[in-house]
Amino acid sequence: MITETQTPEDSKMWTARLRNSWQRNLPIDKLLPDTQPAYVASWIYVFGVLTLVAFVDILISGLILAFAGPAWYHTSSLGLFVNSLHFWGVQLFFVFMVVHLWGKFWMAAWRGRRTATWITGMVAFLASIGTAFTGYLIQTNFDAQWIAFEAKDGFNAVGVGAFFTPTNIGQIMLIHVALLPLVLGVITVMHVLMVRKRGVVPPIDALPGNEAL
């Protein structure tokens, strides 16, 4: 829409195009809806948001651990407690995420042009595994030593070890603390925006013609 202060040429500006596209695809009532379709009435729907809030919990405890350093929790009872918050946050995160994933699988939630939503969810799952794995590598304890020793063989066997080195704690620390949380955060935002844009997938059999599956 062109307002009085705009000239017709404004609508061709990249900024205006981005704004208009955003408003067309994701108006605020889609982004923050106060209603949902009547069929959204199962506990399975809770696990997506549970995964998100567990991720927030992990980021908070991880931020504290990052400032205190990777060896803090070996000698401080407060550090061990924060490490435990991080640890159990991750455990719950994966429980929620896996239930969410399988829930969406059995709903065939990729229907209705939602393939990209499913794929971004899977990428988020893989990024989460990578983030957790690198977290285990930077524990600076016996577990980390053993995992580094074993994991190097798997990565080396397919050539990945030439670039990703589980035995190099400096590299792994940066990947765990900076790169992967950023990747996971961006993918998660994309995933959630796709869900909000398309809405929650309707039930199978809601209309004739479910052969489209």
């Binding site: 061990l80 159990w88 994966f94 990729w110 957790a132 030593q145 020793f149 080195t165 199978i204 059999d205």
Partner: protein
């Protein structure tokens, strides 16, 4: 075809049917509070695993015989690290899957000269006795063939003595016994960890040499066996203590429990298990990721009607029967 199209459009279109109130912000807030409380509760009750790191000092003090024998293997070039191949050296081509030699093709990106980096350099950076200094000089001035002859002869003798160097008969081992003894003493005093890490430099964050040396002896492996962490006992997803570990790695770990992956002697899969398992898991992951695009696989949710449970109330309210 037309029905499919209608269904696809219906699934993709904004929902125009009945709706119900749904406070998404309230739900997220309540979820955050409950999950946070649960995390705190679990942390207070169960804490988190933190088995102390192993050190070379611990190894040399508790099992000096094994450390000594491992040092000799490093000098002889008979350790696992010495024969590893890429990315550390060119001693072997590494693993392959048929014509795919990915390990070899990726190249030596983290060169580790096993005898020198793991034994000779740490000794050179340490304060040694006159006898040890003389032995080190003898080693350095000898030809590569002479060095190999001394070290392999001694390594064989130790192996024949079941790993106990104290009962090895006299032989032409050159300076190797003195060097191995010197490194064992340095390790027992606690100096070797930092010598291997920094190698005389100020900064270092790469523990590769330490991990390789650790892996060549029995100390690390024995500790892992005691903690139930070996790969053939689901060790990739286990962790120390009674904690859940990385349970999400089950699809990766499972292949290390079944033949032919478990049999290292069986070619080509067992002897290249690490490479094959990676590809198997990659394939399965790709299958799950691209399920929406794979005919048959994407129909499973319709064939196995768990969705009737998920949307049970909706189907009942709308009186929608399952379509075969």
């Amino acid at each position: 075809m037309k029905t499919q199209s209608v269904k696809q459009e219906f699934d993709a279109a904004p929902w125009a049917g009945r709706v119900r109130k749904y406070d998404i912000v309230k739900e997220a807030t309540i979820a955050f509070v409950i999950v946070s409380m649960l995390v705190v509760l679990l942390s207070l009750i169960f804490s988190s695993p933190d088995d102390k790191q192993l050190t070379f000092r611990g190894w040399a003090q508790t099992n000096p015989t094994d450390f000594y024998a491992t040092t000799v293997k490093e000098l002889a070039g008979t350790s696992e690290s010495a024969g590893y191949g890429p990315p550390y050296n060119t001693a072997s081509s590494g693993l392959n899957i048929g014509p795919l030699w990915l390990q070899k093709w990726a190249g030596v990106t983290h060169p580790v000269d096993v005898p020198n980096d793991l034994v000779v350099t740490p000794l050179s950076l340490s304060v040694l006795s006159a006898n040890e200094t003389s032995a080190l000089d003898t080693w350095k001035s000898a030809s590569a063939d002479q060095q190999t002859m001394w070290a392999t002869t001694y390594d064989t003798a130790i192996t024949d003595a079941n790993g106990d160097y104290t009962v090895v008969p006299a032989g032409d081992y050159g300076p190797v016994p003195v060097l191995a003894n010197a490194l064992t003493n340095i390790a027992a005093k606690g100096s070797l960890d930092s010598l291997l890490l920094a190698g005389g430099n100020f900064y270092s964050t790469d523990n590769t040499k330490q991990i390789l040396f650790f892996g060549d002896g029995a100390y690390l492996s024995d500790a892992a066996t005691a903690a139930n962490l070996q790969g053939n006992t689901w060790g990739m997803m286990n962790e120390t203590g009674r904690y859940p570990g990385q349970a999400w790695l089950w699809l990766y770990s499972i292949w290390y429990q079944v033949p032919p992956f478990t049999n290292e002697a069986s070619a080509p899969v067992g002897s290249n298990a690490d490479a094959y398992v990676m590809f198997v898991v990659l394939g399965l992951t790709a299958g799950l990721m691209f399920t929406p695009l794979i005919p048959g696989l994407r129909s499973i949710p319709r064939i196995i009607p768990l969705h009737r449970k998920i949307w049970k109330s909706y189907y009942a309210e709308e009186n929608i029967k399952r379509r075969k």
